[in-house]
Each structure stands twice: as C-alpha cells, then as structure tokens.
C-alpha cells in the first residue's frame, strides 16, 4: 500500500517546503512536531515535517509536489480524534489546518454557512446562534475540535437521535486532490441530485481523498429553548425501559444518553454527582427543545413517561444555564474512565436500536468473563454505544485480556447486525478489523474509489479499508 512512497524527506524536499511555507509555516524541530504526531487515541508517531498552509493556493502547490514526489501527507486540524486517524503512523508530512480558520459567510436566508476547515465547532455554533441559527452536530469534543475534523470523521454526537450526525449538515465540500486538482462537491442548496454524491463520500473519509479548503454547512432555525432531565435507576433494564417509555409517549428527544454503573462510578471520582451512589446502576440523561412556553409542559411529559420505570431520583434543568451542569457530567465520562485503568481501548460500536439492551448486557458480561473493566455509555437514542476497556498496558496479561475483550465486543456487535464504529472512524485502532465487517467486494469498490481520487496513495496512508 505504501510501497511506492518515499520513506523519508531529502534535503531537496525540505528546501521545497521552506520555499512554500516560509517562517513559522514550516516546523521541523522534533520537540515542536511531537504533538502533531499524537491525537486523543493516545497513539503517536513522529511526523517528518509539519506545514501550516494559510490558503488554498499553498495546498494546491503542496499536493502537486507531494503527488509527483510520492510524499505522504496527513491532514490534521485539532487532533481530538479517538482512533488515530490523524497520527502519521506510516510516516509523512502533517498538514495542520489551524491557520485556515475563517468563517467566510453565514446566511440566515439560505440557512447556509461557508467555513474553512480549522474553525472550532463550538465557536461556530456560538457565532451562528447570534443570527438565531442552529448548527446541531455536537460531538463530545465540540469545544476543542474543528469543523474540518468533524467532517473528515463524520463526527456524531448526542443530538443525533433527533438531528442526525455531521453528514446531514454538509451541503458542499471544496477539496484539493493529489496533483493539485480542485473539486467542488455539492453546493449551497439543501437539495441536489445532480451526479454522484461526492459530498457524502468526502464526509467521513478521514483525509484519504482530498484536503478540504472550504465547507458549506446547512443551518436550522435556532430552537427557542431546551430542557433536560437526568434520572438515576436501580438497574440498567429499568433505565432502558425508561427510554422506551419516552419514545412510546411520542416524544423525540434531542438527545438521549445513558451511563452504566461503572461510568457513574468513574464520574463520581472527579465530580460531585447528584445521584445516590450506593443504589444507582444506570443514569439516563434526556434533552428536549422547542418553544419557550412549551418547555415546562415537555418536562412534565418526560417525567410522566419515565415514572413507570421507577427512577431513584430525577433532576430537571430548564434553559442552558440549568442544563449545562447535568450535561457536563455526561461529557466527563470519557476522561473520567481513566480512574479505572491507565490505558484504554475506546470503542464506539453501534447496533440496531432495538438491540441495545442485549448488546450492553453482552458487553458487561464480556468484561466479567475477561476480568476487565468495561464501561458502557452513550447514545441510547441511536444505538451507538461507547464501550471503553480499561487496563494497564505495563501488565502483559491485562493487555492481552483487553484485546480479547475488544475482539469479543466486535464479534457480538456484528452478530447483532451492528457496526464496529458508529462515529469515531476506523483510523489505526480499528483498521485491522474492517475486514470482519466489510466483504471483499465492498472493500474492492472502496479501493477503486480511493484510486480515482489519490492514484499514488499519498493521502493519509494506512487509514483505509483493506
């Protein structure tokens, strides 16, 4: 796969890069490059060099040169991915998009915005809110990740149950392909069926097809208000029954998240928690949004829908200020888990929604079978469950059990008709397992598509489907 690529940069290569990226635009000091070789997957590899383009012209020149010279490139913005997608594990130059961070246009009549890839997602959300507009995708990393990274990974988030994931909000992608070809996929209209859907192809492609220079995003009218309920349950099954009750009452929540017993415990290690610590086995957090006058009524509806499943306690928040502390607890679960073990395999499998209870029961049983901490939490509303396996890599026995655990989780997921990754992408941590899910024909079609975009395989090598 990487056979025809160079294995290191020559002095001539570096001279070219110095010319194209003057001053601070090029980084070659290993101490400064180190962070560009790592991401939130905690995998790392030293880049050969880091470049910081300020605009599309530089990217066009870079991709012409890299394609001709067979130099691998790894696009990156904020490095908060969970599967090592931005880690140059197979060598190459890291292309940092942080200097391309302008919001080019927000149009309240078109319900569309144009941005460069380095814009921080939460800052973009705050900006469009001033125009009473709404950009719904909200990955847990929203405060520190970027729109470019979100599109490259088709980031999910907690609001997916009602609003869908990032791909539903990408109307167009402008990207530079190897050789310097500029491709404009999609556009500014909310409907568009002319030609193949290249926009969807770019979304979630993990920097393997092109380097984004502009994204056109879809916006919605901003809901007037929202409300949140957090309920604790004495068992996971009561919690799932509560979730079913909500849907049966005809409520489509904006977000519906659950935390299992170990997740609740881990959060209690870093924050004061409102639920009873001794009896709580699962927590459900729900959000609804809509008109200001209706929110109090919606809260009562939610409370009535949850009552038959017997919550131990129930907390309500009306409006962002009251809601935020409840959601902050949920967002902390990923880092909090490290109190169970210093190393983590973070999986994000998804199963058909009706199979969630069976899947979570199974994942917890797998943890017991291998005597390993398995923490389950996530997006109950859409069947996407985070399964975090904690261990100590210094203990070879623990490390081996953790890998067995992960593989058992994958097997169970696939047997239930699920997928190995709902939102993190396969990157390097799940790359080797893709063939468990995708057949030979599917992988051959994908390889053919990759070949059309990037015939020499210079873009993010090793992050694929083979």
């Amino acid at each position: 796969m990487t056979g025809n690529l160079v294995s290191a940069l020559t002095p001539a290569h570096l001279r070219f890069l110095e010319g194209l990226f003057p001053g601070e635009g090029l980084v070659t000091d290993p101490a400064a490059m180190a962070v560009y070789g790592a991401d939130s997957s905690r995998r790392s590899a030293m880049p050969w060099a880091v470049v910081r383009p300020k605009g599309e012209e530089q990217i066009v020149e870079l991709l012409k040169w890299a394609d001709a010279e067979r130099v691998p490139l790894v696009p990156r913005s904020r490095g908060t991915g969970m599967s090592g997608g931005a880690v140059p594990a197979f060598g190459g130059i890291v292309v940092s998009c942080l200097w391309m961070n302008r919001v080019l246009d927000v149009d309240a009549d078109d319900f569309a915005a144009e941005v460069e890839p380095g814009v921080v997602t939460a800052e973009f959300q705050a900006l469009v809110q001033k125009h009473r507009l709404f950009y719904p995708p909200d990955p847990a990393s929203i405060k520190m990740s970027s729109l470019g990274g979100n599109v490259a990974t088709c980031a999910g988030g907690m609001r997916a149950v009602k609003y869908g994931v990032t791909r539903e909000y990408v109307l167009g992608v402008r990207a530079v392909l190897p050789g310097g070809r500029i491709v404009n996929a999609g556009g500014r209209t909310h409907k568009n069926v002319v030609g193949l859907d290249l926009t969807r192809l770019f979304t979630g492609s993990c920097g393997t097809l092109g380097v984004f220079t502009k994204l056109t995003l879809k916006l919605l009218p901003l809901p007037e208000s929202s409300a949140t309920v957090l309920a604790a349950f004495p068992s996971l099954h009561d919690c799932l029954a509560g979730a079913r009750g909500v849907f049966r009452a005809g409520i489509l929540p904006t977000a519906m998240e659950f935390l299992d017993a170990k997740a609740c415990w881990a959060i209690s290690q870093i924050r004061e928690v409102p639920w009873p610590k001794d009896t709580t086995q699962a927590v459900l957090v729900l959000k609804v949004d809509g008109g200001r006058e209706t929110m109090a009524a919606e809260l009562s509806r939610l409370e009535r829908a949850l009552a038959p499943s017997g919550p131990l306690c129930l907390f309500q928040g009306l409006g962002p200020e009251e809601e935020e502390p409840l959601w902050e607890l949920r967002r902390l679960v990923s880092p909090a888990g490290f109190h169970l073990g210093v190393d983590k395999l973070g999986e994000d499998v998804a199963v058909p929604r009706g199979k969630t209870a069976q899947a979570v029961d199974g994942f917890q049983a797998i943890g017991r079978e291998f005597d390993t901490h398995v923490v389950c939490y996530g997006h109950l509303g859409d069947g996407n469950t985070h399964v975090n396996i904690f261990y100590d890599a210094k203990d070879p026995d623990q490390a081996a059990r953790a890998v067995k655990c992960k593989e058992a989780v994958f097997r169970l997921t696939l047997s239930l008709g699920g997928t190995l990754s709902g939102e993190h992408g396969t990157g390097i941590t799940k790359g080797p397992y893709v063939s468990w899910q995708l057949g030979e024909n599917e992988r051959a079609v994908m390889a053919g598509i990759k070949n059309v975009f990037d015939p020499n395989g210079i873009l993010n090598p090793g992050k694929g489907w083979s």
């Binding site: 601070e24 980084v27 000091d29 290993p30 101490a31 400064a32 490059m33 180190a34 962070v35 560009y36 790592a38 991401d39 939130s40 997957s41 905690r42 790392s44 030293m46 910081r52 904020r78 490095g79 908060t80 940092s96 942080l98 200097w99 961070n101 380095g118 921080v120 939460a122 990393s141 405060k143 520190m144 990740s145 870093i270 902390l332 990923s334 880092p335 909090a336 490290f338 210093v342 983590k344």
Partner: protein, 403 residues
C-alpha cells in the same frame, strides 16, 4: 501528578494556541513533552524540549479544564527550575531586585533611551513605563454605600492588614494602596500596618522555587507577628499567589506551624472586592464614556463563585461597565513577556480585539475617551503596554475618589 491522556479538553482555554494557531504551544503539547516520553530520547533534545515547554503564560486556564488534574503551569515551572539559564537569571534580577520597587524601575525605564533596550525587553519596559508616576487614571467614582453592617457582623473582632504585594507601593500604584485603605476604613475595618513583600507567584512560575519559598516565609512571619490579621488583597494574581501557600495537596507544614494555622491563613485571606461586595457608587464629572472591564485569568472569586472585581464594578457602574462575553488573557504571562515578547504581543492583540467586541462597546473604545479597568497588577502592566491610542488602563482602585 496525574498523567495527560491527550483528550484535548485544555485546547479550548489556551490563549497562546488561540492567538497563534500553533499546536506546539498548547498545554497538551507541553504535557506530552513533559510526561513519560513516547519518543526515542535521541530524537528530542532536552534543551529544545525545555525551550518550547517554557513558552507558557501560566494563566492556569488549562488547569481548570483538565479532567485529569494535570497542572501544566506547574510542569512548566518545574521545567524552568530544572533548566536555569540566562532568562531565569534575568527575570530574577527583575523581580527580586526591581520587583519590590516596580515604580522605581518604571521611572528608570522611562528615562532609558529606546536604542539601549534589547529588543527582547521592549514590551516589558513599555509595561513598566505604563506604571510610571502620573500615568494613572484620574478619580471619577464616588462610593456612596458600603456594606458596613455585613462587614461588622462577620469581622468586627478582626484586625485587617492590606497586602500590597510588589506593585502596590510605588508612586503610580500608591493610589491603589491608599484607596484600598480608605475604603476599608469607611467600611469600618480596624486597619493595622504590616510590611509584606512579593506574593511569590511569579517567582514560582519563573522556576525559582527557593526564592519563592523565602518570600512566602517572610510574608507569613510578618502576618504572624502582626497577630494573624485578616488580609485584604487587591491584586487578583496576589490572591491566587497567597492562596497557593496552603493549596490542597501541598505540605502546609513547610510554611505554617500546623494545619490550623494554614486554615487561618486561607480563611483570613480575602479579595478586597469581596469585602466590598454590594457597594454602590456615583460617577462624577470627568468619567469616560466607555468603561471596559478586563477579567484577569486569575480573577478572584466570590465565596459563591463569580469574579469578585467584576461583580463589585457592576454594582458601582451598572450599565456603564462593558465586559466581553468571554474573558481573554492579556498575554502578560508571568515571564512570557520577557522570554517570548512576540508571543506575548500576539496574545495581547487578541485580548484587545476581544475587549473591543464587548457587547455595547462597538468600536467606541478608541473613539470616545475610554478606560479599561481590571484588578490585577500584571494585567495593568501588559494592557498599558499594548493599549490602542487613546485608551487608558488602570486598576479599578485608581478611579475611586476620596472625599
């Protein structure tokens, strides 16, 4: 200390990353380099790592965001302490010799021909010039109501000493200490005079733990011999520096007689603005049309949470006070102004852009006579040095009128 898990939560708060877009300056990069190395030692030269890691504002914003409890400013201070070089030596000169008489240094700085000033010290000197005598704001705010009853109910039995730190005693800043004492007397406090030195926070940041310990001990001795009075502190960074004497997780017996004495120190150390909470005032003639507020990174907190200085000023100035929705670091950064003045300037520029975007201020900050008030001596120095033409910066105590 806890280990960084590379989650990136800190990225949202770092003013250096925001101003430069250079990920190698982020807290995550520092934690990655300072932690157990993932790379071959031969690849990373220790001096390069030290030089890069010490480019930090020590604002502490990342620390508040970190779910693992990683304290990057402490990592940086340790790195600085382990690699003493010219810059540390230089800073030691500044804060241990000039520090206790900043104003004198400011006077000297004003007289120094620009051509004699090494480029790397330009901003620091400009900051010092900002503190020169006569450079302060004119008083235009009369305090009409003070929370005397609330103060008496809580502190009637206590003596109160004002902590001036290193900036508060010079010619410009003399109004800070004098006005602090005036307000406390009006409040009904029984004031006693205690001579304190620098709070020591910058010494720690600069990687001078020995000097920091000495100055802390001297302050505690002075406090002890004065009968352990309440401390009223008017510089936000001093509040942080003084509370660090007995911060959770530190061995308090190193500085204090016992845990009870440390507790007395922590409970008796109050931001001046918290003691004045609820005060009301009236603007007199000469007040600027626009008054901006700059929130320091180490803003002193009210007991129930919230910036004590901002709350006080809001009560005194109502809608005249304009504060940005989100605070931004001024870029002073302990010693970054000396070690990397270009980075410090860029963070400063982002801070001014943020202040100018404050709700209601429009672009009026430069058009009308404008003042920016803050509650930290480091921020006053940095903002004075970087202010747009026509904007004057000062500690809020400067605008208080004494009758």
């Amino acid at each position: 200390m806890a280990e960084c898990v590379l989650c990136g939560c800190c990225l949202a708060g770092c003013p250096l990353l925001a101003a430069t877009g250079r990920e190698e300056l982020s807290p995550r990069a520092k934690a990655l380099l300072a932690g157990p190395s993932k790379w071959d030692a031969a690849l990373l030269r220790e001096t390069d790592v030290a030089a890069l890691t010490t480019l930090c504002l020590a604002c502490g914003r990342c620390e508040k965001l970190c779910p693992q409890g990683v304290k990057v400013p402490q990592l940086v201070a340790a790195m600085r302490a382990a690699h003493p070089d010219f810059r540390q030596w230089l800073w030691k000169q500044w804060i241990t010799r000039l520090g206790p008489c900043w104003s004198l240094a400011a006077r000297g700085a004003a007289l120094l021909p620009e051509s004699f000033v090494p480029a790397s010290l330009g901003l620091a000197l400009k900051g010092l010039k900002g503190l020169r005598p006569g450079g302060g704001l004119d008083p235009w705010l009369r305090v009409t109501d003070l929370p005397e009853a609330a103060f008496a109910a809580k502190y009637a039995d206590h003596e109160v000493a004002v902590f001036d730190g290193c900036v508060g005693r010079g010619p410009r800043a003399s109004s800070w200490g004098e006005n602090a004492r005036y307000l406390l007397r009006e409040l009904g406090a029984r004031l006693i005079d205690v001579k304190f030195g620098c709070c020591g926070s910058t010494l720690g940041v600069a990687g001078l733990p020995g000097e920091q310990r000495d100055t802390r001990r001297a302050n505690i001795d002075a406090w002890r011999s004065a009968g352990r009075p309440l401390l009223a502190v008017y510089c936000a960074t001093c509040v942080k520096g003084l509370s660090d004497y007995a911060a959770p997780g530190t061995d308090v017996t190193e500085l204090f007689a016992d845990a009870a004495e440390a507790e007395l120190w922590t409970r008796g150390m109050m931001p001046l603005s918290a003691l004045l909470a609820g005060a009301r005032g009236r603007v007199t003639s000469g007040a600027p049309d626009v008054v901006g507020y700059h929130q320091p990174c180490h803003a002193a907190q009210l007991p129930g949470g919230g910036d004590a200085d901002q709350a006080l000023l809001h009560g005194l100035l109502n809608s005249r006070l304009r504060a940005p929705e989100k605070s931004a670091c001024c870029g002073f950064g302990g010693i970054l102004q000396l070690t990397a003045p270009d980075l410090s300037t860029r963070v400063g520029a982002a801070c001014w852009a943020n202040l100018e975007g404050a709700p209601g201020s429009g672009d009026a900050l430069e058009a009308a006579p404008a003042s920016v008030l803050t509650g930290c001596s480091g921020c006053v120095m940095q903002l004075s040095a970087t202010a747009p033409a026509g904007v004057r910066v000062g500690h809020w105590l400067e605008v208080i009128r004494r009758d």
